[in-house]
Symmetry: D2
Subunit: 206 residues, 4 copies
């Protein structure tokens, strides 16, 4: 299934490189699974870049979001990879959503929101619970911006309640997580390919 689809993975850990990150691990497993179905990609650890607070596409003055944004615009699939803190996605992940808010007013040459025809999926880790809630908030926000969410578009791992084990410290990837990761890649690639040849119509003006 060779294609020229591309994906970009935004790893939303709070830890700058080179610290090990469970979110980066699960995100990279999903990127590998995408590669295996013909989707090439790039992974960006967002906290390594100076992404300014705000809701514009470019906040000026050292803002490193525009370079990240360009890679999202160029890609067919967005992977949001985030750890769980206090049961929530990280402040880094929420900042990405805030910056993507600007895309609602940016139209493509057909008059549609900039992020149309793109697919978004998620990869979530945590030593404690939160994956379903984070999935909910990511899907709602990314969908609002214009991304399409493929069937069963999330892979995740969290430990038992009140636990403290990290995904990166597991002896092996739980088989169900491994197979879910591969399935998410398949579904995302399928939907992205389909949307490339059958673009959404324009919204009705309000």
């Amino acid at each position: 299934m060779p294609s020229d689809l591309t994906a970009v993975c935004l790893v939303c850990t709070l830890k700058p490189s080179p610290a090990e990150s469970s979110a980066e691990l699960l995100g990279s497993q999903l990127m590998d699974a995408l590669e295996a179905v013909g989707v090439s990609g790039t992974t960006i650890r967002v906290v390594d870049h100076d992404v300014k607070p705000g809701v514009e596409a470019d906040m000026g003055d050292g803002d490193e979001w525009p370079a990240i944004r360009e890679q999202i615009v160029a890609a067919d699939i967005l992977v949001m990879a985030t750890p769980t803190w206090m049961g929530h996605m990280t402040s880094v992940a929420q900042r990405v959503l805030e910056r993507l808010d600007a895309e609602l007013s940016e139209k493509d040459d057909l008059g549609r929101p900039n992020m149309f025809d793109k697919v978004a999926v998620a990869a979530i880790v945590g030593n404690e619970d939160g994956a379903h809630q984070i999935t909910a908030e990511l899907f709602q926000a990314l969908n609002d911006i214009g991304f399409t969410i493929p069937a069963q578009g999330v892979t995740y791992w969290n430990g038992e309640a009140m636990g403290s084990v990290d995904y990166k410290d597991l002896e092996e990837t739980p088989p169900k997580v491994a197979s879910t990761t591969k399935s998410v890649a398949r579904f995302a690639a399928h939907l992205a390919e389909v949307l490339q040849s059958a673009r959404y119509p324009v919204p009705v003006e309000g």
Copy 2:
């Protein structure tokens, strides 16, 4: 754009017929918009039926879910229409999700979850805020079950904070809500049509 796509709208108001329902109104506006792009459909007020608590496809003994379920299985698009109570979707909407949980273990003839290749969208009303959170939880749950969420797949209305006006009592439909409703119909119909001719691959076994 004639098609043979069909939609089913589950109205999740707490009020049995024939009481007027804001959720039914917005749901019916979305169904009209779907009709206008060639999608025929049926609307069901769930609370008029005895949907038993549980997570099986058939809870036996007077359970009226199986008849509703059949219509979802037959349709290409599911519209979930719910009011907002305490900032949440209704108990009726959550019951629908619980009953759909059974579909995760039901496979179609290709070995995929039963609800694959179907599209889900939402219509949410409230005299107070809640639409974004309800959208989040509906998308996360419906996506988990296997539905695909089209770009910008929700139409909604809620009044200003601490308000008490109902959508059904507005003098006219706000233009932005009206156009959003039409856009959601377009996007859902587009995606449903595309998925009918490009079915998802099977998940990877875990």
Copy 3:
């Protein structure tokens, strides 16, 4: 620490008695812990009663909510015990919140919402994740109605991601869950006692 504080536990499982329920088990452990600090109580499995959909204190015609409501009004502490389905509290728990919505317009003899000076805590179980999100929605809704939430007012257990083990089938209660349950009881009893002798002032009229 003898007191005349009382608690009522609403078990929001989807399964009617006498089926075993993990939510009932954790709820009863919390009630035992409350008993140990001098709070006597009653446990009600809500699904065994015909609680009608609606947002009035009495929906008439066979509605069994008023009898449950009376016990909440009489108690100092409300324990909400719910399992996790689709990552959410159950439809039964949401129905309880919907029925409590009526209390916002019911005033006590001081002109305060009916549920003032009462404390609410939660007990949440699931074979999969959801406890933090359910905690969030329970606290927001119960607090809106007038309940006070004591420090660290929730005990919970959920299994590892994509798991299928039930709390009731664990060989033993995890020590951290057991100690958390006891702590929640202590904090709730402390706060309830304090509020009994230092009642909230009246709200400012809007």
Copy 4:
């Protein structure tokens, strides 16, 4: 009602000073209402300070969180004021929660989490809906850290669905919002005072 209670308000707008902020406006109205019932306080616009990502009390190297943290530790009441972006609290608010996560392992001289006996309330604004969901997530996280949530502990304003008006641009504060703000101040001050003279017991060790 003179007291020596103190409050600190963390304004979590994305906009650095001196830009006008709706969240700061509602936060300051709540601080004024607290002042009127005898609680003195300080307001901090968090984005004006370099709060590093992470979950430690001090992330070193230019981290300005420790100075903010000290003020929270010294105060009896924490006010979290946040705007709504994408239906969520801001990345700045979530960062505050992440940094407060460290307090779970910090014990006071009685062996209790550092933030015990403190009260937390919220002030939320948005041109679109989100206040109930943000309330939920703030209460769950702050309560987890050890804060107590007083009855009806939130004031908020958001405009009608799909709107674009800011709270700061309203011609006058809606009367219901104004009275709610005053009530929240009363309830928070009452509870904080009560907790100062009736401190929580220690948690049960796990």
